[in-house]
């Protein structure tokens, strides 16, 4: 692989051991993927931040890296953790709490913005063609498909290494020639956030890790597209989809020989239920946008009678305090910096969620979980 002088210096240890270790990871993985050179990135986003996910080894690696003086060279953000650090919901053991705080401290020492969110694009929106190195599958799919930025789906440590070096290998979705849809999927008329999420779940099942070209009866809003993409990245491994009417045309190549597949209305409906008897209602996977908070606040008319969680990026929470206060007055718990996918949930048996991604992961953890329409959440909650 061709390396610039500066990159050579990073690899030989002139910038310290931490940078050297990070550069070794980037170069090795780049060589494996056949990259000819590295490219500069503007933003790295690290997944694998919850102590529940990365455990003692992950903490040790991050601590060691920080102690060797590694610092982020570019804007760098991090994923949610195992609980809301302000309200300590869900409750965790003292040990879990302290270990989680140590992980956050290591990121802070390395100059990361400890954003604790899976939606870093709500804090700083990348522009089309901008190069990123993001972990977190839902954010990767959103960056490529909605914003037209360029990122592969990076593993946790690779995204950390990319932050420290400011570099990533030029391979996969960093190359425009690889940003070409391989199959065309036609969706039926969809009318709800959860219906787009369910459609995304089906898309992931069909496309696997391929790039689908998705056509709509009605172009979804960005937050509906977010629900679709997060689900397709979970049930399949979709890192990018071309969404008709949304994906910036200058960021992909067209393919006129695609197999065409239609998803039928009943395949969406099969995934959605309208059950009343649940002990937790959850919206906010991926973390909510301001539009979703406004929608929820309008559609929930009275005090909720069930445990109801909404999850949000801590910085967004601060920015829209008045509407959060209204939701909290209605009995909704607005959690910052966490979500049920990475939190150690115990006390709930039956969970209803608007997110097909949450549905996918909680089901695998053995929970009884159903998908519910966002427009129906309000009426289920107040009964």
């Amino acid at each position: 692989m061709y390396l610039t002088k500066d990159e050579e210096h990073m690899l030989s240890g002139e910038y310290g051991e931490g940078v050297q270790e990070a550069m070794r990871i980037i170069v090795k993985v780049g060589e494996l993927l056949g990259a000819e050179k590295l490219v500069n990135i503007s933003h790295a986003h690290a997944s694998g931040v919850s102590y529940g996910t990365i455990g003692e080894p992950g903490l040790h690696w991050l601590k060691t890296l920080a102690s060797k003086g590694a610092k982020a060279r570019v804007y760098a953000t991090v994923n949610p953790i195992g609980f809301d650090p302000f309200k300590i919901i869900p409750p965790v053991s003292k040990e879990f709490y302290l270990k989680q705080m140590e992980i956050m401290k290591s990121f802070e020492e390395m100059g990361f913005d400890v954003t604790l969110t899976c939606t870093p694009y709500y804090l700083r929106e990348p522009k089309p063609l901008e190069r990123l190195a993001w972990g977190e599958s839902s954010a990767v799919a959103y960056a490529n498909s909605v914003l037209g930025a360029f990122t592969n789906r990076e593993g946790g440590p690779v995204a950390v290494a990319a932050a420290i070096t400011g570099k990533i290998y030029e391979a996969g979705l960093q190359l425009k020639e690889n940003r070409r849809p391989e199959l065309m999927i036609r969706l039926p008329q969809l009318n709800d956030y959860a219906e787009y999420a369910a459609a995304g779940f089906r898309i992931g099942e069909i496309a696997g890790t391929k790039i689908p070209y998705v056509t709509f009866e009605k172009t979804p809003s960005h937050w509906e597209a977010k629900a679709l993409l997060a689900a397709s990245a979970a049930s399949g491994g979709v890192a990018m989809a071309v969404l008709e009417g949304i994906t910036p045309p200058s960021t992909y190549l067209m393919n006129d020989k695609m197999e065409k597949i239609e998803i039928e209305r009943k395949e969406i409906d099969e995934l959605i239920d309208n059950i009343e008897d649940v002990d937790l209602i959850y919206h906010g996977c991926p973390h909510v946008s301001i539009e979703e908070l406004i929608f929820l606040n309008k559609s929930i008319k009275g005090k909720v009678k069930k445990e109801f969680w909404v999850s949000v990026a801590p910085k967004l929470y601060e920015a829209v305090r008045p509407i959060i206060r209204e939701l909290e007055k209605k009995g909704i718990k607005v959690l910052r910096g966490t979500c049920p996918v990475v939190a150690p949930l115990k006390e709930f048996k039956k969970i209803a969620t608007t997110s097909a991604k949450t549905y996918f992961y909680l089901k695998r953890k053995g929970f009884d979980v159903t998908i519910v329409r966002l427009s129906e959440v309000g009426s289920v909650a107040v009964r």
Binding site: E21, R24, I25, K28, V29, L32, L33, S47, G48, T53, I54, G55, E56, P57, G58, H60, W61, G135, R153, E154, G155, G156, P157, V158, A161
Partner: protein, 129 residues
């Protein structure tokens, strides 16, 4: 002699083989705290020979965990191509890694010697010890 890509490691490495004839997911199928595979076989100080890899992005931290808990294998040999997750884990943990060696007829307990030569690493099987 069978050769593959030298991804991590150098010099000559020797150890007894532990063979997995399917694609291994490090998350869920390897316990870093005990150094054991899902079927109870110990991989600490062995040459772990696997057909291929699959599975979660957290896998890199599991491999690093093998080193952290003192249970790292002497080397990992992959018959097929390895993925970025396992590779990044081996770089972090400094565990020698060779991939693309092709189909390997080897059984548990056989002595395996790996010799690194620039970008290649070649394997010699020395029979059971």
């Amino acid at each position: 002699m069978l050769c593959g890509r030298a991804l991590v490691g150098q010099g000559v490495i020797e150890g007894d083989a532990v063979v997995v004839n399917h694609r291994l997911s490090f998350l869920g199928e390897v316990d870093p705290k005990t150094g054991k595979l899902y079927d109870g076989r110990m991989i600490k100080d062995k040459v772990l020979v696997i057909r291929g890899v699959r599975g979660s992005t957290v896998g890199a931290y599991v491999i690093y965990g093998l080193r952290y808990y003192g249970n790292a294998p002497r080397a990992i040999v992959v018959m097929e191509e390895v993925d970025p997750i396992v590779l990044s884990g081996c770089v972090m943990a400094n565990i020698p890694l060779v991939d693309k060696v092709g189909h390997l007829e080897v059984s548990d307990g056989e002595r395996v010697s790996i010799e690194y030569k620039e970008r290649r690493a070649c394997l010699t099987l020395r029979g059971p010890t």
